[in-house]
């Protein structure tokens, strides 16, 4: 599995995401936001958490218009895989690769804690290592994780099985408790919780490991 992790000014989970992918067996290249091309022969692009461009204007808005994101959009349009975590999820919605938007948390506070997630769809390359309905513990760390979609779009996401994870106890006001959304072709996942921060015994939990292993299984045989 060949992976790239994009680094923006203000990214702070880029190395954690790279380590989690490497431990699953990926060959990882870091890519700077000013680069215009992703490496050749890439299987998956990681869009990491952090505070790209200081969250100026809106979280992810400026990053979404950086040179590398044109390549990222082209990569996903070709059917390439991508995983956006936290700020990476915000960037994926700002580029339009994934639907919806992330608003300020309903309680207006930055929240940093481990939360329960329910696996809503285990038939994706990201979630095949989990069971439907399984509850897992993954940390969140965000101020703007309050997911919004219109009622019409929500109905569509439900019909298409595109809600990957929900919160067991909604921490931020997200519509329908949504914590993670997947693309129609099941190859792009965006989520506010951080699976790469639950990938080592030292993290205090390893429920994120199955995601990286699932990806490896999928992409090693692709």
């Amino acid at each position: 599995m060949r992976a790239a992790v994009i680094v923006f000014p203000g990214s702070n989970c880029d190395r954690d995401l790279a380590v989690a992918l490497e431990r699953a067996g990926a060959d990882v290249t870091m890519v700077w936001h000013k680069d215009t091309e992703l490496p050749e022969g890439l299987d998956i692009v990681g869009v990491p958490g952090g505070f790209s461009f200081g969250d100026y204007l809106r979280c992810g808005a400026i990053a979404a218009n950086s040179p590398i994101c044109k390549s990222l959009i082209a990569h996903t349009e070709r059917g390439g895989y991508a995983l956006g975590v936290c700020n990476g999820f915000q960037i994926l919605t700002e580029t339009g690769i994934l639907p919806g938007a992330l608003r300020r948390n309903a309680g207006l506070k930055y929240i940093c804690k481990t939360v329960g997630l329910r696996v809503e769809n285990a038939e994706t390359p990201f979630t095949a290592g989990y069971e439907v309905g399984q509850e897992i513990d993954i940390p969140i760390a965000h101020h703007d994780g309050n997911y919004f979609v219109t009622d019409e779009k929500l109905a569509q996401l439900k019909d298409e099985g595109r809600i990957a994870f929900t919160y067991t106890d909604n921490p931020n006001g997200s519509v329908a408790d949504i914590a993670g959304v997947i693309s129609k072709n099941r190859r792009v996942l965006g989520m506010m919780p951080h699976p790469e921060r639950a990938a080592d015994d030292g993290h205090g939990g390893t429920d994120g490991v199955a995601m990286f292993r699932s990806l490896m299984d999928q992409l090693a045989t692709a």
């Binding site: 204007l57 938007a101 948390n105 207006l108 979609v149």
Partner: protein
């Protein structure tokens, strides 16, 4: 020339910051504040002759996220 862009959350999108301001005004004794919506104002210094269509394009591409936000442009 100058342009001023007002960006607001769309009606129907809950504005938790506006709600917090409404509560704070109530606790200061200002009765009768029935709703507060908080947005942002972006001032642009533009080359003479820049058209409203160009500013609209700026709003659509970057200044507003039209999934949740609406915008209004004032030129001059």
């Amino acid at each position: 020339m100058k342009a001023r862009v007002y960006v607001m959350l769309k009606n129907g999108v809950l504005d938790p910051q506006g709600e917090a301001v409404r509560h704070a005004l109530g606790s200061l004794g200002f009765d009768g504040v029935e709703g507060v919506r908080q947005g942002k104002v972006i001032e642009l210094d533009l080359a003479e002759g820049t058209t409203e269509a160009t500013v609209t394009e700026m709003c659509e591409k970057l200044l507003a996220n039209t999934v949740i936000e609406s915008y209004k442009i004032e030129l001059g």
